[in-house]
Point group: C2
């Protein structure tokens, strides 16, 4: 059997002032109404092709609950929710884990999946960065200052150099920056 | 006399996690050692041509003191320092003001200068955004997570939509995003 090379990607959408969520839970700001002429159009085909490459998702319990409320964006892909809470398993594809994130990623998921996406929230981002669990980070900057809310990077307390790999600007003013996370 | 149309630009260099300064004052992170193939080379000619368009600078007292220490980057352009402290005037081009930022910008500087650059720090950025004093914001993202320090946008407490105008990626992995600040 061919050895798989797995990639763990942290992906998050952020306001320019670093927030991933508003205090009041409103998510309308995540739909941009801006127009950037030189940007590329994000068609359904591009989105589908892109999502197709993701093999599984990892997230915290709040991100999971938000996804249930807002309309499940993860299709039939396996979803791993890291939580110590006792949550109701509403979907067959969802797996709850209360173990250490390092164990879940390195001893389980990296052995089964090639492209692992960690999609939030703040607490899990912090744990992933502090324990060197991710290889790549994609930040999508929305054209807005929110002014308050939950920080994407919540003072993770560790300096990590990055390598810029890709810059993509979209027609709706979102800018996606893809970085390799460099290890010490 | 032709009426001048003035533009106030907030410009800041930030780590991906939103910090403009490290706690220990180290500034070596502001010199990127990354390499991004598709980026443009920032030559001395480009920098000179760019700086040439700026008519005056506005900043807080800490940013002023840092500039004195690190090597004055503002040439012979007029510099307005907003502060309530009694600072020593070490350069002819420097003017200290302890008045309201709105008064300085709208009643003084906008009448004299076309391109006004506000270069920090956090407190002044907050005041400028809260009081609608700026027309444009340029964020330069360095390819690094700092983990701790002084936030660029320090919970300004106000939602402000932006319009993406320009995306420039440089050879050293810095990405510069230019936005119009949209008024309510």
């Amino acid at each position: 059997m061919k050895e798989k090379y797995s990639i763990v990607t942290i992906h998050m959408v952020s306001s320019i002032d670093g927030f991933i969520a508003k205090k009041d839970g409103d998510v309308s700001w995540m739909k941009s109404s801006d127009h950037f002429d030189k940007g590329i159009e994000l068609t359904n085909e591009i989105i589908a092709g892109f999502l197709d490459k993701i093999d599984c998702y990892v997230m915290g319990s709040k991100t999971y609950e938000d996804a249930l409320k807002l309309g499940w964006p993860y299709g039939h892909k396996p979803v791993y929710v890291l939580t110590e809470r006792n949550l109701v398993d509403e979907r067959e594809t969802v797996h709850f884990h209360n173990e250490d994130p390092s164990f879940l990623i390195n001893d389980k998921l990296r052995r089964q999946f090639q492209n692992i996406w960690m999609v939030g929230g703040s607490q899990l981002t912090k744990a992933f960065l502090q324990h060197n669990l991710a290889d790549e980070i994609i930040v999508t900057w929305m054209p807005i200052i929110l002014g308050d809310g939950m920080l994407f990077f919540d003072f993770i307390g560790k300096e990590i150099p990055l390598h810029l790999k890709e810059v993509t600007a979209f027609k709706d003013g979102m800018v996606e920056l893809t970085y390799d996370i460099l290890r010490d």
